[in-house]
């Protein structure tokens, strides 16, 4: 089942001679449960693509369909709800809220929605993320790996349609990187969670089901690694 479809996506910064085409007519689709790695050199448009998919940025032209719905046909309020419920974002530098503890950071999308937290799901999540005993700790009391695990918990807590990860292991050592990748692959396999991940690391990209290579805002390669 197709969960994500991108049609003729363009993103241009500036005008005329100073125009920078960050994305130049990008089109692809992703099936539910697929693990897609996006690779490319620095400045190729990977992060721009990810931010547009997560409705954090707006395209110049083109369409993005998530679960059959035109994402950018929604108004600002609907987009805010979409970002909270349909998308999970994981960043290289975690982007946790410094004054909220582990529990509050993980449940943030649910709390912002004004809904009640499913305690069992939360405890299962904390257990899976190996964060037992750290629930009341603030981000500055955690290691890098632990912080990234909190970030993953926050992204997965709402069971979004798609998890978008922008170099989630970029700031971690190899041991922690391995651990994080393990968690992401586990959620991908166990929960059929669609995962789109940007990475510079070829070895990590090869762990995905499919690799999309971007260069100068265009897709240069779209290869299925394992079906």
């Amino acid at each position: 089942m197709e969960i994500l479809k991108v049609e003729h996506l363009k993103k241009t910064y500036g005008e005329g001679e100073n125009a920078v085409h960050a994305l130049d007519d990008v089109s692809f689709s992703v099936e539910k449960g697929e693990f897609v790695a996006i690779i490319g050199p620095s400045g190729s448009g990977k992060s721009t693509l990810l931010h547009i998919l997560g409705a954090v940025d707006v395209p110049t032209s083109g369409k993005v369909y998530m679960g059959g719905q035109d994402v950018f046909a929604q108004n600002e309020e609907e987009l805010a709800v979409f970002r909270r419920r349909q998308v999970g974002l994981i960043y290289q530098f975690y982007n946790l809220i410094p004054v909220l503890n582990v529990r509050e950071n993980i449940t943030l999308p649910i709390l912002m929605d004004g809904r009640k937290v499913n305690e069992k799901r939360l405890q299962d999540m904390i257990h899976t993320l190996h964060l037992e005993g750290r629930e009341k700790h603030l981000p500055n009391q955690l290691s890098g790996g632990q912080q990234q695990r909190v970030s993953i918990g926050r992204a997965l807590m709402n069971a979004p349609a798609v998890v978008l990860a922008d170099e989630p292991t970029g700031n971690l050592d190899s041991r922690n990187s391995h651990e994080i990748m393990g968690l992401l692959k586990e959620s991908n396999k166990a929960y059929d969670q669609t995962l789109i991940m940007i990475t510079h690391d070829e070895s990590i990209a090869l762990q995905a089901d499919r690799i999309i290579a971007i260069e100068d805002g265009r897709i240069t390669r779209d290869e299925v690694i394992r079906s």
Partner: protein, 279 residues
């Protein structure tokens, strides 16, 4: 407490000095804003109060008008309130030293008159009926005629007429008309008054007026003409409203008062005032 409030409170607690500086900054700016607007409002009210004390609270005045015009304008919903001054006529002053002001101008008012046009009593009291009179002090120092409280005045009160120039009828002269050489007073009737008070020169009397104002109490007497002092629900329209109804006589707005109220009939002035306030 919802997550946004928790986040806000914890962030404020985490950065205590920044929070304190922000709170002090907000307090200072609110205090400054309050002080400035209070000062402006207070000063504006002071100017308004001074003007009311000096010249009265009327916003529009119709002078030497007729009863029909008064009836018509006071029926207009845009007119808030009014008071009336009935001009009973003029009496010649025998020993007056001012050739340009040889009359006593008898005006009949009711007890509410001073609500809109002040009368400053220097001695005595206001008249209680139409046999009593209050004389203006400037009759003595400007006209050379002195009356005391208790004096009885027997006056021939009539209507001023201009000198008839060949081929033309003489016309009735009102409080709007300065003294004209050759004019005379006709249709006289004898009236007796007791002086019960001396007042300062009233603001309702124009400097070019041909007579010194004397106030008596209104009764059923028919007046030569009438002055109407008005306030409006829409003071900015005062001039237009009076224009609509004034069949005879002259009319004017109390422009200083309206300016201080921010309701001048001059739109440009209002625009400047409010722009400065906004800035």
């Amino acid at each position: 407490m919802n997550i946004f409030n928790q986040f806000t409170l914890r962030t404020l607690r985490k950065n205590k000095i920044r929070t304190l500086v922000t709170v002090v900054g907000i307090a200072l700016s609110v205090a400054m804003f309050t002080a400035v607007t209070s000062s402006i409002a207070s000063f504006q009210q002071y100017l308004l109060n001074m003007e009311v004390v000096r010249e009265g609270a009327w916003e529009g005045r119709m002078m030497a008008t007729d009863l029909q015009s008064i009836q018509n304008i006071t029926a207009d919903k845009r007119v808030k309130d009014w008071t009336q001054m009935d001009n009973l006529g003029y009496a010649e002053l025998k020993d007056c030293t001012n050739d340009d002001k040889p009359y006593l101008m008898i005006e009949a008012v009711d007890k509410d008159f001073t609500k809109y046009s002040p009368i400053t009593l220097l001695e005595g009291r206001m008249p209680k009926d139409s046999s009593e009179i209050v004389i203006s002090k400037h009759l003595e120092y400007n006209g050379g005629v002195t009356y005391k409280i208790g004096d009885t005045l027997k006056l021939s009160v009539g209507t001023r007429y201009s000198k008839a120039i060949s081929g033309e009828k003489s016309e009735v002269l009102t409080s709007n008309d300065p003294y004209r050489p050759g004019e005379n007073v006709k249709e006289k009737s004898l009236k007796t008054y007791t002086v019960v008070g001396i007042c300062d020169r009233p603001v309702s009397e124009d400097y070019s007026s041909a007579g010194y104002t004397a106030f008596t109490r209104k009764d059923d007497q028919k007046a030569v003409n009438y002055d109407l002092f008005l306030t409006f629900n829409t003071p900015e329209q005062s001039y237009d409203i009076m224009t609509k109804y004034a069949a005879t006589g002259v009319y004017k707005t109390h422009e200083d008062l309206l300016c201080f109220e921010g309701k001048s009939t001059n739109n440009s002035f209002n625009a400047i005032l409010y722009s400065m306030g906004a800035i």
